[in-house]
């Protein structure tokens, strides 16, 4: 039993850490966030050159063949730097679906493009009414000749503003919340009939609402088996939750470290505020929240690596902890920074905002606890 990283994993981690150290200062990040696209195309090319975009993909398509641990070490570093580039949306979500459901041909078409930095992807699954329920799909894809016609709307699509290629969940059978009857389609984001409304989210990323009006899809736009997309989506979402948790852990660590440093420097009543025992004990509590989250992350990753075990329960638990511990850590970080934590020019609140978006993604702690309970008390 060990929790050590392999040599390759250490190199991967250090390479991301170095990039953030050298090229991704908080000020540099602010400029990217304020740009039109909210991301740097140049950095994206760097990601490709450094091989990061290849990490989870199979070697046959130019991937690195990495596993959950490799993804974890990268995402944790991305979290520390609050990296804006759509790694999560393109590689983890969009790429994850491709990898899991795509035909050999589809994989051969899209994965190399992702790896080379020539494809920005997005997964469109949320609808106005669906909240966190993946099976709540009203968007329809009706058969039309060999292909399909897509009608409906998706909202708050991550990287929806910049994506050139979309994977869309649509109903090809069943009723509104049925798990059966959902299919995935891969299509050009500029296809005729797609109306895109873009906006920024509080964490700096660019999302979009997408309206599909009679969008014609060829037969080979179908990704995976017709009507059977739900298990695939669920699985990729579970894996994506672990990646998000790693990013969240990176953020929590930064918040704790920066708060600790601040309390050691900031003087009030003639002494550093870090010398007040009440604050010390509270920082011990946030330290423990961090460590406990890390432990559940490791637990989930280890279970994911064992192919014969169902990771769902561990991952739901992780998402619950990420909510509770993340809220605890970001609240204390802002509170202990005093007025400074409330200013937009400091990084503290930006970390907090990203942490909250991570929390909301695929369901908050309460949502996952209900799922955890459903598995525990069936």
């Amino acid at each position: 039993m060990n929790f050590d990283f392999s040599e390759e994993q250490v190199m991967l981690r250090d390479s991301v850490a170095r990039f953030i150290q050298d090229d991704y200062s908080f000020d540099a990040r602010r400029k990217i966030a304020a740009s039109d696209t909210g991301m740097s195309a140049e950095h994206w090319q760097t990601f490709a050159e450094l091989g990061w975009l290849s990490v989870p993909f199979a070697e046959e398509h130019g991937g690195f063949g990495g596993g959950p641990v490799d993804v974890m070490v990268m995402m944790e570093e991305f979290g520390k730097g609050m990296v804006l580039e759509p790694y999560f949306a393109t590689v983890i979500l969009f790429g994850g679906l491709l990898q899991r459901a795509g035909s050999t041909e589809q994989q051969a078409t899209y994965i190399p493009r992702i790896v080379e930095g020539n494809c920005l992807g997005a997964f469109a699954f949320t609808e106005r009414q669906s909240r966190y329920e993946l099976a709540d799909v009203k968007t329809t894809a009706t058969p039309d000749g060999d292909g399909f016609v897509l009608n409906g709307e998706k909202v708050v699509v991550y990287n929806g503003a910049n994506a050139d290629t979309l994977i869309v969940a649509a109903r090809t059978g069943g009723e509104q919340c049925d798990e059966d009857g959902i299919s995935l389609f891969i299509l050009d984001a500029g296809a005729a009939g797609i109306d895109r409304m873009s906006y920024a989210l509080m964490d700096g990323q660019r999302a979009a609402n997408l309206v599909f009006k009679d969008v014609r899809l060829p037969a080979d736009a179908l990704l995976g088996e017709k009507d059977k997309a739900y298990p695939v989506m669920s699985w990729v979402v579970l894996e994506a939750c672990v990646a998000l948790a790693a990013e969240g852990l990176g953020i929590m660590g930064q918040l704790n470290t920066k708060t600790l440093e601040y309390t050691k420097q900031r003087e009030q009543f003639g002494v550093p505020i870090g010398s007040f025992q009440a604050l010390q004990h509270r920082m011990v509590d946030t330290f423990m929240s961090y460590e406990q989250t890390k432990s559940l992350l490791y637990r989930a990753v280890c279970t994911l690596e064992k192919e014969d075990e169902d990771p769902a329960r561990d991952i739901h638990a992780l998402k619950v902890m990420l909510d509770r511990a993340g809220r605890h850590v970001h609240s204390e970080a802002i509170q202990l920074h005093g007025g400074m934590g409330l200013t937009d020019e400091m990084d503290i609140a930006h970390y907090a905002k990203r942490l909250m978006m991570i929390n909301a993604t695929f369901g908050d702690g309460d949502h996952h606890q209900a799922q955890f309970n459903a598995l525990s008390f069936a």
Binding site: A200, A278, Q335, G339, G341, L342
Partner: protein
């Protein structure tokens, strides 16, 4: 023990309701939300209160106040929050006004009070400094006497609405002798004076209401000194106690909770309304039960003030619990907004966006972080209770 209202209080309540229904109309509500019109709209609203005689309920009648009973005050605040009516800007009416009529000279009273009542001057508060947060008395902004004026140098921070203000009331250091609380003076400074510079601070709710105010050799006539030189700390402390009487914010939290309920009736997951989700119900009722208690804690303090007691460390309790409840409501509202909590305000139609309260949930949550920090952080409030109530 008796918590029923007297008939005259019931009549007053009806009058308040009728006034709000009439004077706080939809057109005014719309203007108050507008990014550029809101300053004038606030002044309009405050003038209506002035015309009604309700602009300064706590002031003595001789200075134009209403001298309400604590019960009337309570009724007014309850109705105000229930009707979603915004409070007056406090800096002139609730903060510097009482200091001027209590500690100022006749000339100062005549000069400043009527203009405050008529909302002709906007005031802001110059207490906190970049180097001194909760440790207010550690302030460094200097005022050196030079002939008939003080020359002020230094900076104040977290100054709400400084960008709109005509005047700022400041604590400044006039002496370095003795304890740090001594040697502080209370100065009124014209924001149009040469050497005053306002630097905006954007806060995490992506708004600009806070500022840093710099003073570079600003000359302030000695006529603008309140009371005696070096005694300003005493005046400021008296003001702080005054400020905390309605600090619990019970009525506003009650309204926020009712809103939350409405949202939870609309929000649906897998066909189930959030309002019917037992875990959501628990979180909501956890907050409501604390609020039901705080309402009576507030009334108990109110009753003791009405009976001639002074609101002491109890106001610290009201502040701590009140802000904890506010933040709990804001947190729950964020969760309710789901993915939409992250949406920044845009010119996009909320209908097109698909959600009506996501962005306001974010703003309330972010802005709400300040409540436990400003006006004496909750940590400082705990120190006050430990010392004053527990004798530690």
């Amino acid at each position: 023990m008796d918590t029923s209202f007297a008939p005259e209080d019931m009549a007053f309540r009806d009058e308040v309701r009728a006034f709000f229904a009439d004077a706080y109309d939809d057109e005014l509500r719309a203007r108050l939300q507008h990014p550029t019109e809101y300053r004038e709209a606030i002044i309009d609203w405050q003038r209506r209160l002035y015309d009604k005689g309700w602009i300064a309920p706590g002031w003595p009648k001789e200075y134009g106040g209403a001298e309400w009973t604590p019960t009337q005050n309570f009724i007014y605040e309850t109705e105000r929050a229930a009707a979603g009516v915004r409070d007056v800007i406090p800096f002139g009416l609730k903060m510097v006004g009482p200091v001027i009529y209590t500690f100022g000279n006749d000339e100062q009273k005549a000069r400043f009070l009527p203009r405050i009542l008529r909302s002709e001057d906007w005031w802001c508060q110059g207490y906190s400094e970049p180097g001194a947060g909760s440790d207010l008395a550690a302030l460094k902004t200097r005022a050196d006497l030079d002939g008939d004026a003080y020359v002020v140098n230094g900076a104040k921070i977290w100054t709400t609405y400084a960008q709109h203000s005509d005047w700022i009331f400041c604590l400044v250091r006039t002496s370095n002798e003795g304890k740090k609380q001594q040697g502080i003076s209370f100065l009124l400074i014209d924001m149009a004076s040469e050497g005053v510079k306002v630097n905006p601070i954007t806060t995490i709710d992506n708004h600009h209401s806070l500022n840093e105010v710099e003073f570079n050799n600003v000359r302030v006539p000695v006529a603008n000194l309140i009371g005696e030189q070096d005694k300003g700390w005493t005046y400021a402390k008296a003001l702080l106690a005054h400020e905390r009487t309605s600090i619990a914010g019970v009525a506003d939290s009650r309204r926020a909770l009712a809103e939350l309920r409405r949202f939870a009736e609309q929000e649906v997951n897998a066909g189930k309304r959030k309002i019917d989700d037992p875990l959501f119900q628990k979180r909501l009722s956890d907050i409501e039960i604390e609020l039901m208690a705080l309402e009576y804690t507030d009334l108990r303090v109110l009753a003791s003030v009405a009976a001639g007691g002074a609101p002491g460390a109890e106001s610290s309790l009201l502040k701590i619990k009140g802000t904890e409840i506010q933040q709990a409501i804001q947190g729950l509202r964020m969760d309710l907004a789901g993915y939409y909590q992250g949406v920044l305000p845009t010119d996009l139609d909320p209908q097109a966006l698909g959600h009506e309260f996501g962005s306001s949930a974010r703003q309330a949550y972010m802005y709400g972080r300040a409540a436990t920090i400003y006006g004496g952080s909750n940590e400082v409030q705990k120190n006050i209770i430990a010392k004053a109530v527990l004798g530690l």
